[in-house]
Amino acid sequence: MAAIGNPMIRMPGSAKKGEVIEVRSLIMHPMDTGLAKDKAGKIIPAHYIQRVIVTFNDQPLLDIDWSTAVSTNPYLAFKMRAEESGTLKMVWKDNENGTWSTGTKLSVS
């Protein structure tokens, strides 16, 4: 079975108040479309991340709904305005009740 999980976030550890910073993330996931076949000619069932939830200090920041059209091992970059120090948290959920999460601290001066 292909590797799955191991979510990662890359972003600056500190920022000036009001600065817009870029957050980059990566997670291992097959993102199977349900259209491809395995070597035996059997359809590989759809298995893919459907939602990504991003919060900062538990406040909603960004919510994403994904389809099977998102590539294997999804990379995602987005921006946030640094207003206060705290923790950015990301949660990924797939269509087979798989859930992964990770967080990163940001210090704002």
């Binding site: 349900g34 406040q59 709904d65 990379y75 987005f78 946030m80 959920k93």
Partner: protein, 169 residues
């Protein structure tokens, strides 16, 4: 108004009946389609097979004015359709009074054209997304944005030439 509601109701119940009928034939195996969908995931728009239907079920219309505020970047030639990098940037003040609330990303002729839906908040500072998508063949990619004021605007469609399709099979 009364009529509208009746139409909506008929539409919904028709869909439910159709699904029940399809499920009854055994075409839908458990674990294949709806079983594990994340709560609130907009399944109808994501399962539509045609662009017009996917746009109608997500945005509510298909004719959206193109605005230079909505920028979509993608390579003009992608050798591998399994991972086509796209960048979305939308000009917006991104404050509590005026921000980009929802963005949809479509690939016109993918088996299911709606690729992603992004729900922003003012805290994002900028409506910006970068990710990689699958494209079945040479096709147009397009983005539609809705602001918190309800204004709809679209990117110009961006054509990507795909050498090897990326949807498996």
């Amino acid at each position: 108004m009364k009529n509208m509601k009746r139409r909506e109701f008929l539409g919904t119940s028709l869909t439910a009946t159709t699904l029940a009928a399809v499920a009854g034939t055994g075409l839908l195996r458990s674990g294949m389609a709806f079983a594990g969908n994340v709560a609130g995931w907009p399944s109808k728009a994501f399962e539509d097979k045609k662009l017009a239907a996917a746009m109608t079920d997500s945005i509510g219309k298909t004719e959206i004015p193109v605005s230079s505020k909505v920028r979509l970047s993608a390579p003009s030639i992608a050798e591998n359709g399994a991972a086509v990098p796209v960048t979305i940037e939308i000009d917006s003040p991104m404050n509590a009074d005026d921000y980009v609330k929802t963005v949809w990303l479509f690939v016109d002729h993918n088996p299911t054209p709606l690729a992603s839906q992004f729900n922003f908040t003012p805290g994002c500072g900028q409506a910006f997304i970068q990710q990689r998508i699958k494209m079945a063949k040479t096709d147009n990619v397009r983005v539609v944005a809705r602001t918190s004021k309800g204004e709809l605007m679209a990117s110009a469609p961006r054509k990507v030439k795909v050498t090897i399709g990326g949807c498996g099979g």
